[in-house]
Symmetry: C2
Subunit: 193 residues, 2 copies
């Protein structure tokens, strides 16, 4: 065998990670197989030895992006601190400015709705897992029946805010948008909402 054991799997992972970044930065449709493989240091012909189709790579890339997400439940001493850290981290200018390393939902939610059902389902499941994690960080005083809806609304606020901040051309205004999103998300997390 020409290559070391595990070499092919390594290459596959490298393609997935390159794709994951490129998709988030440029959008799935704008990324071609040839450019993608070149970025991974390969030629386009070898692509189909790793994946059945571009669509399969899209799913793998999304799974990878979610796995490497910086959202960790232990990022704070208390649940309240962890939630606040998450919200502030999500709505940082650094996250706005680096979509290729950021939230896949924010980067791709618009076009994923037009992809195959299998792809939408992967995305859908990850979105649900994300809101569940947010729900777990809500104060104990938030009623059981409201936790899921509150977490969904909080993530919706973060998502919409980040996207507005990314599209706006004036940077001071963009920063202000992020700030207003932080306040709103934290406000929604308080009980008796």
């Amino acid at each position: 065998v020409r290559f070391a054991k595990g070499h092919k799997e390594e290459t596959r992972q490298r393609i997935i990670e390159v794709a994951s970044a490129m998709f988030r930065r440029e959008g799935v449709e704008a990324v071609g197989i040839a450019g993608l493989m070149a970025e991974a240091g390969l030629t386009h012909g070898g692509f189909y030895a790793h994946f059945h189709s571009k669509e399969e790579l899209v799913r793998e890339a999304m799974l990878s992006a979610f796995e490497h997400s910086r959202l960790r439940q232990d990022a704070g001493h208390t649940k309240a601190a962890a939630l606040e850290n998450f919200v502030r981290s999500y709505l940082r200018p650094a996250h706005r400015d680096a979509p290729e390393r950021g939230c896949a939902v924010a980067a791709l939610v618009g076009e994923i709705g037009r992809h195959e059902t299998a792809t939408r389902t992967v995305f859908s499941d990850k979105l649900e897992a994300l809101t569940k994690r947010i729900a777990d960080l809500l104060p104990d005083s938030v009623a059981e029946t409201e936790r899921s809806a509150t977490a969904t609304a909080i993530f919706g606020t973060m998502l919409g805010t980040l996207q507005m901040a990314r599209v706006v051309t004036d940077s001071a205004r963009s920063d202000a948008i992020l700030e207003s999103g932080i306040l709103a998300a934290l406000h929604l997390a308080k009980p008796s909402g």
Copy 2:
């Protein structure tokens, strides 16, 4: 002259309206000039007698979509009622299911960030006008210094919520997402946020 006076302008408007719907439904990148012109009952060659480029049409289509927006300030007897009507109307299942006649921001925010600055500026300006209109519907008791930020956060919540509802594959869950967004947006509109 072969055609009636004003005929060309009529054709131009027809192309813009067809494009405005197609862009919102399929995304700008996925819509080709040929398909677009066919939808307008024409052949692709005539396109450049009306527009300098596809990008120019994108801007015209966005302006048109914003102009035909259903958001009217008079849609309620009081400001509170008008705001609630707007939020509920925006987060209706019917709006989720008909992006081609819906909010251009929700449909295109993801890809517009990757377009020319001129296009982003048109989009940016319209987004600002939209939040200003929301700010005007906030209760008088909301402090002057907070009105803009609050309106931005409310629209962010609506935007993110609608996009989540559009991508989720389970329809009951999608409906629940819309509901949670309505409650959250209205909650944010209350003073002392």
